[in-house]
Symmetry: C2
DNA sequence: ACAGCAACGTTGGCGATACCAACGTAGCAG
DNA sequence: CTGCTACGTTGGTATCGCCAACGTTGCTGT
């Protein structure tokens, strides 16, 4: 009668209840947290955050983009993008100039240094994804991407 | 030559680049954000947050638990759990007493009112999950749970 | 018996993230 | 030229996960 709940071992308190562990929103939060920590750890000694990478990658694809366009493409707020571009500009990874064709906009462009930094970041990002998905087969990885994409697209 | 990138339409700037959209960590973050917003919206007029639900649900399963045990079961920090239990106690949903068998611990227990509140919360949580997974078939939902569980267990 | 170590709860604080409100400026449509 | 809209900028808010420190309590080894 020593154990209040009738468990023999006793260390069962550390286990997440099935009721919670079967909750999609909880699992998503947990998995995303792990993903975030993994990516952050891989980018740490590069002094970058994950949004810096996504902005640089988008710029490499677009060539030039306004901050508002970057925000819409990446789901970021204008104010947050302002801070990100400012940081990248201070590191000379991007340039920010008034768009001559629409002087409301800032034309943000990748510099040569930015392009090199992006290449280095890409390596780290790839390593983080590999570590994150280490327990999944190739088929499972594809399935995961498909299902997550469904969820994101429905948003 | 009007369009810098050769796109005819022009509203393509709002689309997330494939390079980003195929990134597991990014998809996880986006999907988790949507899940979080959906749950929060469903719990909003109940004046509760999602961690309140998980704590209440764990207590219903365990009967009694210390704050540290709740933290380990749910992946929450001691300090955060303190705030949660305090809030639940103020609403008389749980009681917090010194555990007579180990006076370092607090024995947190569900009250009758807490049990009723949990039942109401469960309805809202279920509705949120339904809304979240609306675009997925039953098979897809099972697959998603399995894959997310793999990711979380590997953490 | 006692000293040292570990666990617990509590308090206070930090950094990252997502979001919102307001403002001035610039383009655009009626 | 008069609204309306988009844009960038600034500043502020709320949540969340995490960490450090402290006093109390239990356990263990000597």
């Amino acid at each position: 009668m020593g154990c209040a709940n009738g468990y023999p071992g006793g260390v069962d308190d550390d286990a997440t209840p099935e009721r919670i562990r079967a909750l999609p929103s909880w699992l998503l939060a947990r998995a995303a947290l792990r993903a975030q920590r993994t990516v952050a750890a891989h980018l740490e000694d590069a002094g970058m955050r994950r949004q810096h990478y996504t902005v640089l990658a988008t710029l490499e694809e677009r060539g030039s983009a306004s901050q508002a366009a970057l925000g819409r493409a990446l789901g970021l707020d204008r104010s947050d993008l302002h801070a990100i571009v400012t940081a990248l500009e201070e590191d000379a990874l991007v340039t920010r100039e008034r768009d001559p064709e629409d002087r409301r906009r800032n034309a943000v462009r990748l510099t040569a240094k930015g392009r090199r930094a992006l290449a280095r970041l890409q390596t780290r990002i790839d390593a983080a994804q590999t570590e994150l998905l280490a327990g999944l087969s190739a088929t499972d990885r594809r399935e995961l991407l498909r299902l997550l994409d469904l969820l994101v697209a429905a948003g």
